[in-house]
Each structure stands twice: as structure tokens, then as C-alpha cells.
């Protein structure tokens, strides 16, 4: 690889230098395209800043790699399995719409209007999550709207590093409120009905099928655990193949991008509470393993609840945060009319993260 790119390096380097100096000497061009060039340049070349204060060497690990690892894990965790189970027409078209509208339209426009120096790579993660948490039959405009809302919402709150709640989940909440029918009914079984032009616009409403959680809510039917694990059951586009999600999540934990405390406390509290409730109430509530393997729990525990900015900073507080997510999830699933509670639990705990954080800091430092 190194040898392959060696001859083209000086050519690209020089032309990038030329474009950079052109952009910086023309304020109007800089105003419109500076952010896009900055992001593109940041992908190809390293920064030129040098250390001015102690310590004078830095670790070779930056936010770009951090986000890149999450992107790789998401592609392995849901894009590839979903392509297999629901067809590439369904997945690729949604990803394209999500990226183009989310990153290349809304984020770039925002960078121009708000005069940001560069567009953030965090947008790719949000836009890769949007199709995953929407039903497979959701029309493309819904995906585009979701991506636009997620990015817009994140930027309004101050961009990566300042967002209060998970942007992808917030946008799904917004869509659930505005278009409940599309988000409740758009589920199908895998390998059924490949989308065509008609379905891109209106959704593929001929072959809808209840998700395992809805099926349990309506007639107490428990889907086989194996099909839930492998992904041959219905559900949102990215949440069905739990096996791939668990494996990529474990990889993220291994390279320390994901803090292990969050998935452990979230999944652990769901398991404990569901065992407790099923001992207490018998067959009226879902069995524990079914709780763990159904719905968006695995996807959320490894990729949404662990979104570092919206969780607490303190490590001890992370346990409380994860346990709180688990408690709300189980309560909503078992005792309300809603079939799924993962989205609400994470959004609620996102809001509670700051009080939990300050409380734990007060306890730790006794102030």
C-alpha cells in the first residue's frame, strides 16, 4: 500500500496546497467551501500543528480514528447483515439518502451558515445509525428527514462535544411523534419483498409483519431465540442480526472506544430486572433472554447508550446511567402499551446524565 501511493503523493500534496492557498486568499470561496475542503484535507493529510507546551510528544490517536472505528463496527454490525437479510436495494439506497442529506447537505449548509471551520466526522456516525433504527419499509424521504433532523438538532445544540441527547434517537423520537403509522407498521420479515420504485416513495406496505416485541404484546408469542440472535426475525433494519452487533461491539470494547461499563450495566440490569419481574409475575411479562435479544436493545447497548458525549463522564456514574437505562427499558416493555422502550430509556437517561454526573462528582470529592 505504501509503495502504491508513493508516486502519487507529491502530486496530490501539491495540488492540495494550491487549493488551500487559493481558498485562504479568497474570503468568499473560503466562506462557502472552506469547511468541505477542511474535512477532505483532514482525511488525507495530518495536521501541521506542533506541540508548544508540555508534553512535547502526543499519542498517535485522534477523534477521527475514534469515529472511524465506530463506523467500521457499525458497517460490520448492521450494514452487511442487513444487506443480506433485506437486500442491497433497501440498505444502499437508504444509506445514500441518509449520508447525502445528513452530511453533505445539512451539515455543510450549517458549516457555511454558522461559520464552522470544518464539518465534523461525528455526522457520519449519526447518519449511519438513522437507517438502522427505522423500519426496513420506511420510505426514503423518511430516512432523509431523519438524517436532516439529527444533524440539525446536534448542530443547534453546539455540535459534537455539546449535544445533550443522542441526535439519532432524538430524530427517531421526532419521527415517531409525527409519523406514527410509518414507524409502527413498516416492519417485514427478512428475505421478503425487495423494494421497487413504488416502495421508495410510499413504503412497501403489502408484507408488513409484527416485530417480535409487538407479537409478544398482542398474543404472547415468543420468537425463537436462535432466529433473534442470527437475525431471521423482523425488526428495524439494523437491529435484527444481534450476533454481528455483539461481535462488533466487543471489538469496540477491546480497542477501548466503547466503555465496557455501559453495555455491562445496561444489559445486566435488563437481565436482572426481567428475571425479577418474570419470577414475580410469571408469563404475563416477557422472559429474560427474550428481553435481551429482542428489539433494539443490543444495538442500543453497544452503540447508542455508549455514545460518549451524551453519557456521564464519571466512571462510577456510568454504572448508574446504564442501570437506569435498563430499568426504564424493562418498565416500558413490561408495563405499558408500548412494545419497545429502548429509545425512550436512552433519551430519558441522556437528560438525567448531567445531574447524575454532578451528584457522583460531589460524592467522590466530598464537596
Amino acid at each position: 500500500m505504501k509503495k502504491l501511493i508513493k508516486p502519487i503523493e507529491p502530486i496530490i500534496g501539491k495540488s492540495l496546497d494550491r487549493v488551500e492557498s487559493f481558498i485562504h486568499t479568497h474570503p468568499k470561496v473560503n466562506f462557502l467551501f472552506g469547511a468541505i475542503f477542511g474535512a477532505f484535507d483532514g482525511l488525507l493529510r495530518s495536521a501541521k500543528e506542533t506541540t508548544q507546551t508540555q508534553p512535547f510528544i502526543r499519542n498517535n490517536y485522534d477523534v477521527k480514528r475514534f469515529m472511524g472505528a465506530v463506523l467500521v463496527a457499525l458497517v460490520i454490525g448492521w450494514v452487511l447483515p442487513a444487506t443480506y437479510f433485506f437486500g442491497w436495494q433497501c440498505v444502499v439506497s437508504k444509506l445514500l439518502v441518509s449520508f447525502i442529506i445528513g452530511v453533505f447537505v445539512v451539515d455543510v449548509l450549517w458549516a457555511i451558515i454558522a461559520r464552522e471551520d470544518h464539518i465534523s466526522e461525528g455526522g457520519f456516525v449519526s447518519c449511519l445509525l438513522i437507517p438502522a433504527i427505522l423500519p426496513p419499509q420506511s420510505p426514503l424521504w423518511l430516512v432523509g428527514l431523519g438524517a436532516a433532523l439529527a444533524i440539525l438538532f446536534r448542530n443547534v445544540l453546539g455540535g459534537v462535544g455539546n449535544n445533550l441527547v443522542n441526535p439519532a434517537l432524538f430524530s427517531r423520537l421526532f419521527l415517531t411523534i409525527c409519523f406514527p403509522s410509518l414507524l409502527v407498521t413498516g416492519y417485514q420479515m427478512p428475505f421478503v419483498g425487495m423494494p421497487d420504485l413504488h416502495s421508495f416513495r410510499y413504503g412497501l406496505d403489502a408484507v408488513t409483519h409484527a416485530t417480535p416485541l409487538t407479537a409478544f404484546k398482542t398474543n404472547g408469542e415468543v420468537t425463537s431465540y436462535l432466529s433473534l440472535l442470527v437475525g431471521t426475525s423482523g425488526g428495524s433494519l439494523g437491529e435484527t442480526c444481534r450476533l454481528a452487533l455483539i461481535l462488533s461491539g466487543l471489538w469496540l470494547i477491546k480497542i477501548k472506544v466503547v466503555n465496557w461499563r455501559l453495555p455491562v450495566s445496561y444489559l445486566g440490569s435488563v437481565l436482572l430486572l426481567s428475571v425479577f419481574f418474570s419470577l414475580l409475575m410469571g408469563k404475563t411479562v416477557a422472559p429474560p433472554i427474550f428481553h435481551l435479544l429482542s428489539g433494539g436493545l443490543i444495538l442500543a447497548a453497544f452503540f447508542m447508550a455508549t455514545d460518549p458525549i451524551t453519557t456521564t463522564y464519571n466512571q462510577a456514574a456510568k454504572w448508574i446511567y446504564g442501570a437506569g437505562c435498563g430499568l426504564i427499558t424493562v418498565l416500558i416493555r413490561d408495563f405499558t402499551t408500548l412494545p419497545e422502550g429502548v429509545m425512550y430509556s436512552i433519551l430519558l437517561m441522556n437528560l438525567l446524565a448531567i445531574p447524575i454526573q454532578s451528584l457522583m462528582v460531589k460524592i467522590k470529592y466530598r464537596i
Partner: protein, 346 residues
């Protein structure tokens, strides 16, 4: 007496020796100063010394390695240490902290320690900053020190191997000690070398003909992590300088950095862009004294520098690991120093 606890040490830290290994040429050349060399002087501390810690555990790859001083004659070294101890600190106990991965000196010290009641051996993990006085006395003696405090006020004397030998030569044999070994390394040099320098030699003379002709460079003494930068090369060598690191100044953009990590590390480049804190917890995972540097950053950013003091700021030993690891490239150590300075003004 050998003491080897598996969990001895501290939470956090970073194993620099494994991640950035440096190899030194075996050439040991003597460089003499042009003027009259300074002479090493050992002053016995006024306070009563109860514990003498001998640090045989350099944790930075650019620090002077053990084999230069010990020369595979560990037992002879320990005999000298015993003589010093019986003469100057008869009531004190000696503690030897040694890198547990260096098999040969560890086994030699172990053999020696079997019939020596006056010393204890601690085979420790050589992760940075194990050799910091605060950490060392905490790990070995379980004594809490403050950063910057003179360790002798608590009856602890920390010596490195070279100082032990110099004390022996100077005080026991009466010879004049006017030179010491230093380790020269870094990406700005042609070769990594260990040299024997007379005290009082200027850095300019040491580095002459050793620096790569092409490119800019910056010079640091006692390592780029907690050492200081030298801009004036006419500065003279003294006994406190253990090593000199010359790093390439990489102030231009490099194409495809993802394929070139070996070229980029150990340069002064930031290796990333400045971003906001993303709460990744890297800084408090790596912190050797169990602080949460991101809290200082958030206090600082909100303009509440005085609040940083509440979060155990005084415990910070300024090892620089938080800034080193931060993926957002925040100047955490600088922020900590500013918050500390505010404390002092009051």
C-alpha cells in the same frame, strides 16, 4: 528479602517502553568540556533518613538504561550501596525498585537479597511514571507525598543508580567525579547513543555532528513528557540531566498519515486536530494518581478555574500523560498548571 507483589503499582500509567522502543548503540564515547569541569558533590540531607529508595527502573525509553551503569555487575553495585548505607544512613532501610522484565539484574538482585536483611527488592512494572518520586514512595513505602515536595522532609531519599556510584566514588574513595553518562536519542539524531560527558559541557558541543542535516529539530532534556525544552544550546550540562532527546519538528502536513504511523510518532507533531472533549475517559483511565483531568478542562472552559481545585487538583504529579493520550488534543497539563498557579496566587 524479596518482595514481589503481582499487583504492586498503581492504576493507569502507560507502558512507553513497549509502545515506543528505542535501541541504543553500545558506543560509549567520552566528551570533555573545554573549560574546567564542574564536580559532583553529595550533600548528606539534614533530616534523618529512614528509607533509601534506589530507582533501577527507568520507565521512559529515552532514559538512561540500567545496563550502562550496572555493566552486568549487579552484586558489586549492591556491595557499594551497602557501604554507603552503613556509613551515611546506618538506621535506614534500603529499597530497590527494579524493572521486573529485565531478567538478568532481577535474578542477580534476588540472589543478593536472600542473605541481606538491610534491603528489600521490589520488582515493579516499568510503566511510566513509576519512577516519579510521589508514585515511587507510594508504591514502595505507602507514604503519601505531595507533588514538588522535597522527599527528605518525610525521611525518604531517592537515588538513581548513577548517583549511587558517584557517591561511592566521591565520598568513599575520595575520587573526583566530573563526568556522567547521558542517553542521546530521538528522531532528529542520526543514531541513538549513550555518551560519557564531562559536567559543564555545552549541549551544542554534545549535539555537534550528531543531528540529521535535513530538517528542523527541537531539543528536550529529561524526556519530552515531563522534561523541558532547550532553546539556548549553549546551556551547560549538569548532574540533573539524565538524557537528551532531539525530536524532528514536523510542522508540515503529511500525506496519508494512517499508513505512516512509524514516521510520525516521536516527532513534535500533534498527530491530530484540536477538537472538543468527547468524554472518552482516556485521561482518567491513564491517570496514575486517579484524577479526572476532563473535569479541570470543563471547569476551565466554563471560566471557573477556581473550581478545579475542588477536584483533588493538588494531587496531580504533572506527568503529562493526560495531554499525551487525549484524542481531542486538548492541552490538559497546561490547564492544570494554570489552575494550580491560580491557587498559589491566593
Amino acid at each position: 528479602m524479596l518482595k514481589e507483589k503481582e499487583n504492586i503499582g498503581f492504576k493507569g500509567g502507560f507502558n512507553l517502553l513497549d509502545t515506543h522502543p528505542l535501541r541504543f548503540c553500545n558506543i560509549i564515547e567520552r566528551i570533555s568540556s573545554d573549560g574546567i569541569p564542574e564536580v559532583f558533590k553529595f550533600r548528606v540531607p539534614d533530616q534523618k533518613i529512614q528509607h533509601v529508595i534506589v530507582n533501577l527502573c527507568p520507565t521512559e525509553p529515552w532514559a538512561l538504561p540500567n545496563w550502562v551503569i550496572l555493566e552486568h555487575k549487579t552484586a558489586a553495585f549492591l556491595n557499594k550501596l551497602k557501604e554507603i548505607k552503613t556509613r551515611y544512613f546506618p538506621e535506614a532501610k534500603c529499597y530497590i525498585a527494579i524493572n521486573k522484565k529485565e531478567d538478568e539484574p532481577v535474578s542477580a538482585v534476588k540472589d543478593y537479597a536472600c542473605n541481606a536483611e538491610w534491603m528489600k527488592v521490589f520488582a515493579v512494572d516499568a510503566k511510566y511514571p513509576q519512577d516519579d518520586p510521589v508514585i515511587l514512595s507510594k508504591v514502595v513505602l505507602d507514604i503519601e507525598m505531595d507533588f514538588g515536595q522535597d522527599t527528605t522532609t518525610q525521611g525518604v531519599l531517592i537515588l538513581d543508580a548513577q548517583t549511587v556510584l558517584a557517591i561511592y566514588e566521591n565520598c568513599m574513595l575520595g575520587n573526583k567525579v566530573d563526568s556522567r553518562f547521558i542517553a542521546l536519542s530521538g528522531t532528529g539524531l542520526k543514531e541513538n547513543e549513550i555518551i560519557n560527558v564531562q559536567l559543564g559541557t555545552s549541549l551544542e558541543k554534545i549535539l555537534r555532528n550528531r543531528i540529521k542535516e535535513s530538517g528542523k529539530y527541537r531539543v528536550f532534556v529529561n524526556g519530552p513528557l515531563h522534561g523541558r525544552e532547550i532553546t539556548d544550546l549553549s546551556q551547560k550540562m549538569d548532574w540533573s540531566i539524565n538524557n537528551v532527546v532531539v525530536l524532528e519538528e514536523l510542522d508540515q502536513k503529511v500525506m496519508f498519515p494512517m499508513f505512516k504511523s512509524d514516521e510520525l510518532v516521536l516527532t513534535t507533531n500533534m498527530l491530530g486536530e484540536l477538537r472538543r472533549c468527547v468524554y472518552c475517559n482516556f485521561c482518567d483511565d491513564i491517570c496514575p494518581v486517579d484524577l479526572e483531568p476532563a473535569l479541570y478542562y470543563h471547569s476551565y472552559k466554563r471560566g471557573e478555574k477556581h473550581k478545579a481545585r475542588l477536584y483533588n487538583l493538588a494531587k496531580c504529579i504533572e506527568c503529562g500523560l493526560c495531554s499525551f493520550i487525549c484524542p481531542s488534543k486538548l492541552e490538559l497539563l497546561q490547564i492544570i498548571k494554570e489552575c494550580k498557579a491560580l491557587d498559589k496566587q491566593k
